[in-house]
């Protein structure tokens, strides 16, 4: 009864399934369309976009050379550049001189040159949003020199593949104050939505001649990429950030300013701060700071005029080093140290705010906080945050707490015999 018909039904079902599978199997007689062997594809690790000479853009690709099994080749990547009207065109043009089809799925970084960024990159950004092969987790970077040159110089010393190099160096925002978060998705939102401005990591090449001498102490982050007083290692350096407003680069922030912006934006990272010791000339106290709770940002929209913005940033710090002999790690001294630190940070913040308002770009994304004050989208659009920002009254104050003092609590004074 029931068993028999179910038996028949099962048989018929299996038959139907088999027929279905057979039909499926006959379809790809023309070949399986998306079937690609991994050794028929060339993987592009980084893309550089410059102004072109013979065409609109000059696109450079850093293509990984997979090492053959059992031994190393000489180089693990090569760079080709071509003058093309657009990025997808470059993918096609490259097939004429690269033996394998190019693929952007594993691209780690896309670098725009400064000269191109100062004109307009919004077009390319919108293209990248739509283009399936390009991922929102790629890093977006802007370089002072030509992007092609940067790609050529990016030969990693610690890694085998440049892809890993790009991934690691752009994730330096976790433990460095000089590098902002560089994800394409974030940059895209900052650039194209109201209430923020794009903050994009800046790349430079190692400077060939040393800069002007400065024998006294100065803060470590005052430079911009390409001006770091350093020698050795990969020629590419990431330092500071480019500010993008309405799809165009309007200026740069140096390392310290980038650090302040990151703290206000609640990007949790750790950084060292070198505070000049007020008691001893020429000595510094070194602390390592990180954010201890999310910053509190209050935006007071005063009618339709410029807003008043108060931001409180909470830091906790460990005393990492001390050059002088004052007992800063003593509990009585610690509040003073905290105050000094807060003052120092507040001063840095003032400088940064001034710079941001000068550039007219809300790199702090206060606009996004302000958005919460509006009830409807139209009100928000009508307020025109980008125009109101340069006139806003902004005050950022820091609150620092010292937590740990490292391995020694007191330093024995150096006795003069």
């Amino acid at each position: 009864m029931a068993v028999g018909s179910r038996h028949n039904r099962a048989r018929k079902t299996v038959l139907l399934v088999l027929v279905g599978l057979m039909v499926l199997a006959t379809l790809p007689l023309g070949g399986c369309w998306d079937y690609r062997e991994p050794d028929e594809v060339s993987w592009i690790m980084a893309v550089g976009v410059d102004r072109g000479r013979e065409n609109d853009l000059r696109i450079s690709f850093q293509i990984a050379v997979p090492l053959a099994a059992g031994g190393g080749g000489e180089s693990t990547a090569f760079v080709t550049a071509m003058d093309v009207p657009s990025l997808p065109a470059a993918l096609e043009v490259m097939n004429s001189f690269v033996s394998r089809e190019g693929d952007l799925s594993h691209t780690k970084a896309i670098i725009f040159s400064r000269e191109l960024a100062e004109e307009d990159i919004s077009g390319t950004i919108m293209l990248l949003n739509r283009f399936r092969q390009f991922r929102p987790t790629t890093a977006l970077l802007i370089s002072q020199e030509k992007a092609e040159e940067v790609l050529r110089q990016a030969e990693p010393v610690l890694e085998i593949q440049p892809g890993k190099y790009w991934e690691l160096i752009t994730s330096g925002w976790r433990y460095t104050e000089f590098i902002p978060v560089g994800t394409f998705r974030l940059a895209d939102q900052e650039i194209r939505t109201a209430g923020a401005a794009g903050l994009v990591p800046l790349i430079g090449l190692e400077q060939e001649e040393p800069g002007p001498p400065h024998p006294d102490l100065r803060p470590k982050g005052q430079d911009v990429a390409g001006q770091l007083p350093r020698r050795g290692g990969v020629a590419v350096e990431l330092f500071g950030s480019a500010v993008i407003r309405e799809g165009r680069m309007v200026g740069t922030l140096n390392g310290d300013e980038t650090g302040i912006v990151k703290l206000v934006r609640n990007v949790n990272y750790r950084t060292f701060k070198n505070l000049p010791d007020p008691n001893e000339q020429g000595r510094i106290i070194i602390i390592q700071a990180r954010s201890r709770q999310a910053p509190r940002i209050e935006v007071d929209r005063r009618g339709n005029g410029p807003s008043q913005i108060r931001a409180d940033v909470f830091l906790e710090a460990d005393i990492v080093g001390k050059e002088g002999f004052t007992a800063w790690s003593h509990p009585e001294r610690i509040p003073q140290l905290e105050r000094l630190l807060a003052q120092s940070y507040n001063e840095d913040a003032r400088v940064t705010v001034r710079r941001a308002q000068e550039l007219g770009a809300d790199v702090f994304t206060f606009g996004w906080e302000a958005k919460k004050q509006f009830l409807t989208w139209r009100e928000w659009e009508e307020y025109r945050w980008a125009d109101q920002f340069p006139n806003a009254d902004i005050e950022i104050s820091f609150d620092v707490r010292i937590r740990r003092v490292g391995l020694t609590s007191e330093d024995i004074p150096l006795r003069r015999f």
């Binding site: 029931a2 018909s5 179910r6 039904r9 018929k12 079902t13 139907l16 399934v17 279905g20 599978l21 039909v23 499926l24 379809l27 790809p28 369309w33 998306d34 799925s105 949003n129 399936r132 991922r135 929102p136 987790t137 991934e167 690691l168 994730s171 994800t183 998705r185 895209d188 939102q189 194209r192 939505t193 109201a194 209430g195 996004w368 906080e369 958005k371 919460k372 509006f374 009830l375 409807t376 989208w377 139209r378 009100e379 928000w380």
Partner: protein, 390 residues
């Protein structure tokens, strides 16, 4: 039916929930951002109580006629001729639903994973699997849905949770988006997200007695919360103006996952989640269309209709020349206007049921039924909100 399948409570909830939630994975739901701007999540949240009301109404109607599907209830209440119209509306809705979902799932695969494969191959592959399983019966499908249900919920919430480090709460503001009246308009224009619940009325005879209300409520609550979470997280990961441009919102959300160097490019892991949900959802729709056809024609078997309906479905899927027209028409037809056929069907049957039960009451009571009592009752009964099928 030739033999009578039985669907348990959990299986029914699994089947219906996946049927309702699968639409969050395909492009057309993203157009809801056009109505709600940054307050879209409020619109979706508002659908929840409306859905509860709607499903309770539907369940009340179904419980008055145990063991019958909506086609048979219609026949009993409004007579065979009007019932044919009602059932045809339902049939067209279901076929349109399956066809449009099929096209969009196919486009999803093509855009996201298989760019060079022809659409027909993908659609035929979907259809072959759907036919095979629909042929095996609704109870088989319901059990497969239950098997998949808990991993499905888990997968969706893992997907959403993995993006936690990217959430920007400002994406939910300005709260009221287009303003309160805009939100109400948005809610009204998107009631169709819940019209799929009519499938409950088609599998009603196979459920055990007394569980209908639990099934309905559980379905609406779970699917409502799931869709709400998806929209909420999408709004937070891609705040408003950006979300509105996305063709495949859930795909983009999964592409954004970035937890360190290793946990990137994870969207391929979630492909089975979406495709399984799509397969189950569309097979349920296919079965529903075949079942309605069989019952209109008063045949005990639905299986002969599966193949013809699948041919019609594929033909309709291919009607649109490009994805954008498909998505736009899907949104208009399925989310904005599908409330009309479903609402008409349920509303008409509801009205007929109330009228009939009142007639029965009147027969029992005094003949002069025009006193204040019945007048008040009539007035009270007449105040039903329009657009029942939520």
């Amino acid at each position: 039916m030739s033999e009578s399948p039985k669907i348990g409570l959990r299986e029914a909830v699994g089947l219906l929930t996946i049927f309702l939630v699968a639409k969050a994975f395909i492009p057309y739901l993203a157009f809801i951002f056009d109505w709600g701007l940054s307050g879209t999540w409020l619109i979706v949240l508002a659908h929840l109580p409306l859905g509860v009301v709607g499903v309770l109404v539907l369940v009340w109607l179904l419980n008055r006629h145990p063991g019958k599907t909506i086609v048979e209830i219609g026949e009993e209440l409004v007579g065979p001729i009007p019932n044919i119209f009602l059932a045809l509306m339902l049939l067209i809705f279901l076929i349109g639903l399956v066809a449009l979902e099929l096209r969009q799932f196919g486009e999803f695969l093509l855009t996201a994973f298989l760019p060079n494969t022809p659409l027909s191959v993908v659609l035929l592959a979907f259809m072959a699997a759907m036919l095979a399983v629909a042929y095996m019966g609704i109870d088989t499908l319901a059990r497969v849905a239950w098997l998949f249900f808990l991993p499905f919920l888990f997968g969706v919430f893992v997907l959403l949770a993995l993006t936690a480090n990217l959430w920007e709460s400002h994406g939910l503001y300005p709260l009221l988006g287009p303003g309160p009246w805009g939100l109400v308009k948005g809610v009204g224009s998107t009631l169709g997200v819940g019209s799929d619940i009519i499938l409950l009325a088609i599998i009603a005879p196979f459920l055990a007695s007394g569980v209908m209300r639990t099934v309905g409520l559980a379905t609406v609550l779970i699917s409502g919360l799931t869709v709400f979470s998806i929209i909420l997280v999408t709004s937070m990961v891609y705040p408003f103006p950006v979300a509105h441009e996305l063709v495949l919102p859930i795909f983009e959300v999964s592409r954004a996952i970035n937890l360190g160097r290793f946990l990137v490019r994870l969207e391929t892991i979630f492909l089975p989640l979406w495709m399984f949900a799509g397969l189950i959802s569309m097979t349920a729709g296919l079965y529903g269309a075949a079942a309605v056809t069989a019952r209109i024609l008063k045949m005990p078997y639905y299986r002969p209709f599966l193949f013809p309906i699948s041919v019609i479905v594929i033909a309709v899927s291919f009607l649109f020349p490009n994805i954008i027209s498909a998505v736009q028409i899907s949104f208009n037809l399925l989310i904005t206007w599908s409330v009309v056929p479903v609402g008409l069907v349920v509303g008409a049957l509801l009205a007929a049921e109330i009228w009939r039960s009142r007639k029965n009451q009147q027969k029992g009571g005094p003949k002069s039924g025009d006193g204040p009592r019945s007048g008040a009752a009539r007035g009270g009964l007449r105040t039903k909100p329009s657009g029942k099928g939520t």
